[in-house]
């Protein structure tokens, strides 16, 4: 690998101050740092340093996302093949079809998001941040497989520029950029995000409307006289199926098991906060129990453990709520933040007839509230300190 290093050293001067390609210096720096760790030494403070850096943290999140990605690819292909009644479609065909659906989305997400990241880095003369590695991968995972590529491009542009770069880039953002991108599409191009969009179609083939609905969509639109219990009893909605995830839905979020695998990676490596994940689950279950006890709407009658595997909750709690930049930073704040996310998910699901799913909005809302929660926790801490003195 020495020759790459030598090559970089040979052309480095072109990208440094005064060089021919000075304007795009950050691109060279990013490529250079991608192949080899930087050569910087500790010049002040501690003279020896931990091997960890942000790049490795971000890449670990990508690895944690792989189960969701792989399952999502297979599932998108499988749903397509089933809907189009391609009878002899096997595993390989499902995966190929899935890749045809998913890969363009990922490429658009990285290419467009990367464009903005590089543009801002070059103008602001700061190194290209690693945050995009995760945002660019998370975003396609929470899109329906039918989303037009141009909408994905507009969405990620909004998320990266308005959600992150105008605040100063990775580490400075208030809300999760990937989630904000999705929220933008959700409100700007509502037709692409609601209704019969969860199974990719070739356009000319009519897709059966029932197979194209997500479990939460089914439950929220039950015909008159059919209760939630009936729907569960006749197999329209099944816990096991939601756990495994071979269902219509956003690409990466359908399988709770894949999300659990991701959670295992994030928790074992200590990248994500276990407090937030646990608090989300506790908030969800306790509010769902309350709703089941006192609620009267049909959605409140869903068995509470169904909420854990339904919709995007598992994915949101594992990958979105735990984003360290937009989540609460204090230990107590993390508990409150997570609990309220879980609670709001149920509030939206059960009380709001318009939206069968509320994970995205709950997390975004709590992202906005996180600084407030932290401020309360810090104030409490400071009051305690003053008392001690």
């Amino acid at each position: 690998m020495k020759f790459i290093l030598n090559f970089h050293d040979k052309i480095r001067h072109l990208f440094e101050k005064g060089g021919t390609f000075e304007a795009v210096g950050p691109i060279f720096d990013a490529a250079d740092a991608f192949t080899f760790t930087p050569s910087e030494q500790a010049h002040q403070g501690a003279h020896v340093r931990d091997a960890i850096d942000i790049k490795r943290v971000m890449v670990t999140v990508i690895y944690a996302l792989l189960p969701c990605f792989l399952f999502g690819v297979w599932n998108a292909g499988n749903q397509y093949n089933t809907a189009h009644a391609i009878a002899d479609a096997g595993l390989v065909q499902d995966i190929i079809r899935g890749l045809i659906i998913v890969m363009p989305l990922i490429m658009v997400s990285y290419a467009v998001g990367g464009f903005w990241e590089v543009l801002f880095s070059c103008i602001r003369k700061h190194p290209i941040n690693e945050g995009l590695l995760v945002s660019g991968f998370l975003f396609p995972m929470i899109l329906p497989p039918t989303i037009p590529l141009w909408q994905a491009a507009v969405g990620i542009s909004f998320g990266i520029v308005i959600g992150k770069e105008i605040f100063g880039g990775t580490g400075m953002n208030v809300v999760n950029p990937a989630l904000l991108s999705r929220a933008f599409i959700f409100f700007a191009y509502a037709k692409s995000m609601t209704g019969n969009v969860w199974v990719a179609s070739a356009g000319d083939v009519a897709v059966d409307a029932v197979t194209g609905a997500t479990p939460l969509g089914v439950l929220s639109a039950l015909p008159e006289g059919v209760t939630v219990a009936d729907a569960i009893a006749n197999g329209q909605v099944s816990f096991t199926q939601m756990l495994i995830g071979n269902l219509p839905g956003s690409i990466g979020e359908t399988s709770a098991i894949a999300c659990l695998l991701g959670a295992a990676v994030l928790l074992a490596t200590g990248v994500a906060s276990w407090r937030i994940m646990v608090a989300c689950v506790v908030g969800l279950l306790s509010t769902a129990a309350l709703a089941k006890g006192f609620g009267s709407s049909p959605m409140s009658q869903i068995p509470i453990h169904y909420h854990l595997v339904a919709g995007g909750f598992a994915f949101g709690a594992v990958f979105m709520a735990t984003d360290p930049v937009s989540a609460a930073a204090t230990t107590a704040g993390k508990w409150i933040y997570g609990f309220l996310i879980g609670m709001l998910v149920i509030v939206v699901r059960v009380l709001n007839v318009g939206f069968p799913e509320g994970v995205m909005l709950s997390i975004l809302f709590m992202n906005l509230m996180a600084p407030l929660i932290d401020s309360f926790v810090v104030d409490h801490h400071l009051r305690r300190r003053r008392k001690r003195a």
Partner: protein, 507 residues
């Protein structure tokens, strides 16, 4: 603030009480009226499994001991004789320099070399007699080193000497005058601002640190055992300086000499680094309010202070530790060196091949010094590690068997066996925005929210920083934050900058 004074104390720190079935309780801070006691509980079963004949007063949980290669052994050998000595005025931070000698002057041991323009009573004195051969100047013509060629025949300048028994009953002013006039005051540090002690203030208490958990600090027991009389004399002269107690804080492996110290309060701490930092001791034993002043001294420096009063002159030599991964195995031990002596004879033949970084002090919070300079007077440790700028192919995704990390992101962190790491100066990344929050708290045993403290400092909000407790700390307390930070934020530098800003503005 609660009411101070012995008369209102219900129990003294360190006192313990046995309660049947519950175990032994000991007081963590002085108990006052209206104050909730904080108790250390040591269950009876723990005591049974514990072979020691004394118990630990304070257990520090948060922190991290970096397993570094090159730990100095406790043997003491005489270092090769150094033919030059030097004083490096920059280590006496905040001193406004007025040079009193020039190149070619003949000085005696103890002669004045430089004085402080602001406090002219404070002087830097020659650690050995001879001829001033060089005055090295650096940026803005600050004097970096005053080098003296040692003349063994030179007669030392003598200050007042005191008999050992009388030191404890000396007048406070007499002690302070001698400390100021000899420059030895710089061995006593003051909180807040972690600068040199201010003689105009009487400190609430004095903390003597005999437990350096920072990697490769000189071992207190080893140094003190070499001169127990000097150590006790040093402790005695501290007693009149404070209105409160002199606290001697030591680790669980403290030896008999330390435990035999008289007329001071002993505290035993257990835990990973930074359990040995004075800030942790202060916070646990006798917490500070923002207006309090506390002095701290290292136990190894107490010996120097004691000798100064017993002999009426600075000792010619002191004991320092030499450690680090670039020191040849066998050479990592304690050395008796000339005060301010040349590094060359000490390090010649003791280092491995390659590029070195020489650190005066411990590798986490010390200062880098050139290989051709001299020992610093205030530091009792010398660490040499590899200057490492090696680049690793695809470091962000390689398994990381040979990478050392506090996190669990590398395979090495998962291996069941432990090893000593030869860490160099590689930063292993580039500076980024703060992304992982709460990361620092895992290595911060003080009741401080590091993320919010450094944000307050970065925003220039001194009031906020003070209420977050910056005045109780020293930059060294944040050394592990520097170490573990994935964004490579220089936390120590930020805290130092914050302290300087507050000192400038005044509280």
């Amino acid at each position: 603030m609660g009411t101070t004074g012995e008369d209102r104390s219900l129990l003294l720190p360190g006192e313990s009480k046995k309660i049947p079935f519950l175990g032994e309780f000991s007081l963590q801070c002085r108990l006052r009226y209206g104050q909730i006691p904080r108790l250390a509980v040591l269950p009876e079963w723990a005591e049974k499994t514990d072979k020691r004949d004394w118990h630990v007063d304070f257990v520090v949980k948060k922190g991290f001991d970096i397993a570094l290669a090159g730990k100095p052994s406790t043997s003491i050998v005489d270092a090769p004789v150094s033919e030059t000595v030097a004083v490096c005025p920059l280590e006496f931070d905040g001193m406004k320099q007025r040079l009193k000698v020039s190149e070619g002057d003949i000085v005696r041991k103890g002669s004045e070399l430089m004085e402080d323009k602001v406090h002219p009573a404070f002087k830097l004195r020659a650690p050995a007699g001879g001829k001033v051969v060089e005055v090295v100047r650096g940026d803005r013509r600050f004097v970096e080193q005053i080098v003296i060629a040692v003349d063994p025949a030179s007669e030392p300048e003598v200050f007042q000497a005191f008999p050992a028994e009388s030191i404890a009953s000396l007048n406070r002013q007499v002690i302070l005058d001698q400390l100021v006039a000899t420059g030895a005051l710089s061995l006593i540090r003051q909180r807040p601002f972690s600068g040199m002690a201010d003689v105009a203030v009487t400190p609430k208490s004095i903390f003597v640190n005999a437990m350096n958990t920072g990697p490769f600090q000189a071992d207190a027991e080893t140094v003190v055992h070499d001169d127990p009389v000097g150590f006790q004399a040093g402790l005695d002269l501290l007693i009149p300086l404070t209105e409160g107690a002199v606290h001697l804080c030591m680790g669980e492996n403290a030896g008999e000499t330390l435990k035999a110290a008289q007329r001071v309060t002993l505290h035993h701490f257990r835990g990973p680094h930074p359990a040995g930092n004075s800030s942790v001791h202060i916070a646990r034993v006798d917490p500070m309010a923002p207006t309090d002043v506390v002095w701290t001294v290292k136990a190894v420096d107490v010996v120097v202070l004691g000798r100064l009063f017993l002999d009426g002159a600075f000792p010619e030599s002191r004991i320092i530790s030499l450690g680090g991964s670039n020191v040849k195995p066998g050479a990592n031990q304690h050395y008796r060196v000339r005060m301010g002596g040349d590094l060359k004879p000490l390090l010649e033949g003791a280092l491995c091949d390659g590029e070195h970084r020489v650190v005066s002090g411990d590798v986490l919070s010390g200062a880098a010094i050139p290989l051709d300079s001299h020992l610093r007077l205030r530091q009792s440790a010398l660490t040499v590690v590899a200057a490492d700028c090696e680049r690793h192919f695809m470091g962000w995704t390689m398994p990381g068997l040979l990478q050392m990390s506090f996190s669990r992101l590398f395979v090495s962190s998962w291996l069941p066996w432990k090893r000593d790491w030869k860490l160099g100066t590689n930063l292993h990344g580039e500076e980024r925005a703060l992304v992982l929050t709460g990361h620092y708290d895992k290595v911060m045993p003080l009741d401080i929210m590091v993320d919010f403290l450094i944000r307050a400092v970065m925003a220039g909000d001194s009031d906020e920083a003070i209420s977050h407790g910056i005045l109780e700390t020293d930059p060294e307390d944040f050394a592990l934050c520097d170490f573990v930070c994935p964004s490579k934020v220089e936390v120590q530098a930020i805290i130092r900058q914050g302290l300087e800003q507050i000192a400038e503005e005044g509280i």
